[in-house]
Amino acid sequence: MSEFGLEPGRVSLRSAGPITFGPAGILFLADNAAATVFAVDVADPGPAGGAEPFDLEDVDARVGSFLGCEPGDVVIKDMAVHPLSRNVYLSVQRGRGEAAQPVLIRISVADGAIDDVPLDEVSFAAVAIGDAPGEDDERLDSTLPLGDEGEEMQFGTFKIRVLRQPIRTATVTDMAYAGGALLIAGLSNEEFSSRLRRIPFPFTAGVTGSSLEIFHVSHGKWETAAPIRAFVPYDGGASILASYTCTPVVHFPLADLTDGAKAVGRTVAELGAVNQPLDMVSFVQDGEEYLLVANSAHGLVKIACRDIDSQPPLTEPQQPVGVPRETKDLQGIRRLANLGGSYVLALQSDDAGRLHLRSLKTASL
């Protein structure tokens, strides 16, 4: 892993965030509390996976049992599938508040066995991703830490330990590896922006990558920018399809993401009112590439990539709402990952709020 700049050591994960696989089975983990992305060699033990479906009922209860907590104390932040073994990786927050603990879970696709990936002795690299406070932004929130964090300060005759942390933060909402770089979408807790960060991988010391705002036009009348909620590279990484917190689905070529240029994407679809996109994945069916979009309110939306390429920008505010798509009556799907071959893996919530892993046969989608 030295060719990717990974060095052995301990990954001090402070929070569980989005995950995605990169080259050579390297897993990228976003740690929003530490404003860092780690690239980790997870040393997946599995043999190359087959082509069978994989289903696991009550995955939140199973992971909770392994972690020694109730299902309600398991927050699955993201899901990824190892590109070779097809083992399932979950980014999990175990417990809440000061008891919260980030854990990387691995589920064997061979037998459903659950294990955690120890991060105290792994090969890894790290890059800072925060909208780093500007040189003039000296705002720090001072609190009294519970442990030995922070710095010791003298107040009169006594000393106390004070933890000073930035007020401005960026929260990673989605990541993908494409074109030799890690692409990161995020939400600021202050300004309303649509920044997509591109960090070359292997990470290079001092290089935090480029970051630019991607505008899109709604119905030929309004140009706007909004945080990207989920996105997926396709066409070998040449194109990006992004879905926004305010629901437009926007296409832009990866080549447009150059420093200093104003990037304007092409709105190709609307996902509908009172709805949030949750995740996107690409897959190949009968030699053609398709995209799936999981939504909070609507079902699973399937879009053919060739239709995206031929879809003119949306100019009419009324129906029809852009690129042809099929809506599958599959509710409660929160995360998607390509299971390789003929299946897409879905993390699905049932009416009772319990979570299950379900394989969706791409030929039937």
């Binding site: 508040g97 003039d136 917190t245």
Partner: protein
């Protein structure tokens, strides 16, 4: 007869088991509904300590959680991890904006707490309510990603941008989350948990009147400056003409001296986020100074110095402006 108790082993918490034969098959499960074989056991290891056996968990026991010990597949003991009794002491210390009236296309609130908080409560405990107590449904952006500062004391809450942006289905089908002329309250329920899992000492709320749309750039050139006399430490006062975003105000305004150096001092945001002042730590020199305004500074509706929230392509005045700081020159007299 097996006896199980909370104990310590090797510096960590454990479940101590007595009266077990050597080589016994022992497992621990969270909860009480343990069906054999259906769930994996809790990760951990068994250590021999004298005549006792200790289950040392890989992940710490959680306060308030019940644990079941099985021996040879049969339930042998149930223990409840005690939750420390503490009084609720955390409270909301501020809700921004503090302006009495907000535009109908208001975008953002900030909620400050007196102590670090738990994630996962915002969707259920932060709501907008009308004067009659009814909830304004679907007003706030439902997001899995709560927007906290690093210390988990300031929460940023967004109104659903799909209902604020013109031309999107959310706005066209459902309209603005707010209604001009209809007051509302932002309510923070006392069920919001702090980082120790305790509820708030008391719920909190702030009431707002609702005005018309705000769709203009933030325009520093139109601001009023009350320039202080030279040789004094009187404040430089800046009045905006409309409320601006509290979080961004705190980092987007600076004063530089004639050599470009930052003027050190105490900055303060005025009532209703309509003004800002800087009291210098040293007396003003009678030379040219610059008020520097960062282009990302937004008003309450998300319009910034460099761009409006959603630009009407037919309106030339809405065109984006250069994303570089705007400077306003002044000279203490």
């Amino acid at each position: 007869m097996t006896e199980a108790t909370w104990s310590h082993s090797g510096g960590g918490d454990c479940i101590r088991l007595t009266g077990l034969p050597a080589g016994a098959d022992v497992h621990v499960f969270p909860g009480t509904a343990v069906a054999a074989g259906s769930l994996p056991p809790m990760a951990g290891r068994l250590e021999r300590d004298g005549a006792d056996l200790c289950f040392v968990p890989r992940f710490a026991f959680l306060d308030g959680t019940t644990y079941t010990v099985t021996v040879e597949g049969t339930r042998a003991a149930i223990l409840v991890r005690p939750r420390p009794e503490r009084p609720a002491a955390t409270e909301v210390t501020g809700i921004r904006p503090t302006a009495a009236e907000v535009p109908v296309n208001l975008l953002r609130f900030y909620i400050w707490f007196s102590a670090p908080m738990s994630e996962g409560c915002a969707a259920g405990q932060v709501r907008l309510a009308r004067d009659d107590g009814s909830i304004i449904a679907g007003a706030l952006l439902p997001t899995e990603h709560e927007l906290w500062d690093a210390s988990r004391r300031r929460l940023t809450v967004l109104l659903d941008p799909a209902r604020i942006k013109r031309g999107l289905p959310g706005h066209q089908e459902v309209g603005y989350p707010l209604r001009a002329g209809e007051p509302f309250r932002l309510v923070v329920g006392d069920g919001f948990r702090d980082a120790r899992g305790l509820p708030l000492r008391v719920s909190a709320e702030r009431r707002y009147e609702v005005g018309g749309e705000e769709r203009r750039h933030v325009d520093p050139v139109s601001w009023e400056l009350a320039v202080p006399p030279a040789g004094t430490c009187e404040p430089l006062r800046v009045t905006f003409g409309r409320p601006l975003d509290h979080g961004l105000l705190a980092r987007c305004l600076h004063v530089r001296g004639p050599g470009g150096e930052l003027v050190d001092g105490t900055a303060q945001i005025g009532p209703g986020e309509q003004s800002w002042q800087l009291v210098p730590s040293r007396a003003w020199a009678s030379t040219v100074h610059q008020l520097v305004v960062e282009p990302v500074l937004e008003d309450l509706a998300g319009n910034s110095v460099s761009r409006v929230f959603d630009r009407d392509l037919a309106r030339p005045e809405d065109q984006s402006r250069p994303a570089r700081p705007v400077t306003i020159v002044f000279q203490p007299g």
